[in-house]
Symmetry: C2
């Protein structure tokens, strides 16, 4: 019986993989990977057969139950099987369905966490998602839901959080903007849309919550996250203004 | 003029560092690091002078303004300066204060994201923080606030989110449990406390929100995160039960 590694490939650039993930890929016999994994990351698995199992928001992809079954079958024939997912496997990666299938089949598994798109996008912007005096809680949400899923009140989390990062949201820009404004989020809330973070084709679009639908028109179909919150205003302000904000926060 | 790299060292284990971070450490001349960075990670910076600049929740540490100044001064004398932080620099790392200081001084900088404690803890538990049909939004919060900081309503984010991860909360277990229960979070909400995730001395304590103060007594003072939400119930349930939950979700 083999072992299945659920591995995070990181946000895009191949060198944002962890050392542990690189080591496991080198030993892998079989790699089941998402569409968005970098070719140089896949190339690390020099010995492995690589099988694309889809998963791109809104596009046709291999059924999850079929992936689960293939992982179990593979572990019965191979010592080192890797399920390689974009970002971190435990954030919007449907990992639990695979974990449950492996547990049910009595197959040994290990999860290797990765860098998620939210902090990679923050790194591109030069903006910390938390900031003393301004942002002490961050929500990672997706407005996407499977058919027949229970109500997903993603907006409640965005409204409660100091900073919010919306995954897989660029295609729902109009709905996101309308819903949040209708529920009281100020139209002028600073916002950034980061597409293909850490990759050469990355795009950064800045504006406000009200601008989101217009900004989304400027994206090119790459994976994108939307960042929302006052941390963006403070960081994009002129250095002198940033100093003033700090002085005000100190006095408050 | 040199460049300053704000680098995430990851959640604990030295091989959960990114390839990019390892490469930069090898080139570093000066490394300013937190207390919790793994000795093997520091050892990668073979050429560098290493300077501990503290930062452990609730303990004495170097003043942030002094760290900011040292980074600026260092970049005026050295080509490659690294500020190495536990986890991801943009989550509870006070990175913005350093970024602002570097911007003000006109110093070039780059942020290298890392694996954060929340997903590393999930990996230890075998629990995805999101799960189709059950958890589509996650909050990362800290109840800690500096002196004179504006109101930090971390609890609002926890209450709104399907899954919550509380950073630097083990020392405030009683307050966290009391506050959340008083505001309507069910006492029986499944909870896990993960201390020293990914390290040999790691501890996993499971219970409910009401048990948190008792669980916290079982920790040994290492860095800890508290995970909270229904994803923990589903994942810890017997495989057969997990199957039943899936069937119910499908019908719902």
């Amino acid at each position: 019986m083999g072992k299945v590694y659920l591995v995070g490939a990181g946000p895009g650039a191949s060198d944002l993989l962890t050392l542990r993930a690189a080591e496991i890929l080198k030993r892998a016999e079989l790699v089941f990977h998402d569409s968005l994994v970098h070719p140089q990351t896949l190339a690390l698995a020099a010995r492995a057969r690589k099988i694309l199992v889809g998963k791109r928001s809104g596009r046709h992809s291999t059924a999850q139950s079929f992936i689960n079954k293939r992982l179990v079958d593979a572990a019965r024939k191979h010592a080192v099987v890797v399920r390689l997912k974009g970002g971190d496997p435990l954030l919007f990666g449907r990992a639990q369905e695979e974990i449950d299938a492996l547990r049910r089949a009595g197959i040994d598994f290990e999860i290797v966490p990765g860098v998620t798109a939210a902090t990679a996008a923050g790194a591109e912007l030069g903006v910390s998602l938390t900031r003393r005096g301004l942002a002490r809680h961050v929500a990672f949400v997706t407005p996407r839901a499977g058919q027949g899923e229970r109500k997903n009140d993603w907006a409640a989390s965005v409204l409660a959080a100091d900073t919010a990062v919306i995954y897989m949201g660029a295609g729902l820009a109009e709905e996101i903007s309308t819903e949040l404004i209708a529920r009281g989020k100020p139209k002028a809330t600073p916002l950034a849309l980061v597409e293909s973070a850490t990759l050469p084709g990355r795009r950064i679009l800045r504006g406000t919550l009200a601008d989101l639908p217009a900004l989304a028109l400027g994206t090119g179909g790459g994976p994108a996250v939307v960042l929302l919150g006052e941390v963006l205003r403070a960081a994009s302000a002129e250095p002198v203004l940033a100093e003033k904000i700090e002085a005000i926060l100190k006095r408050a």
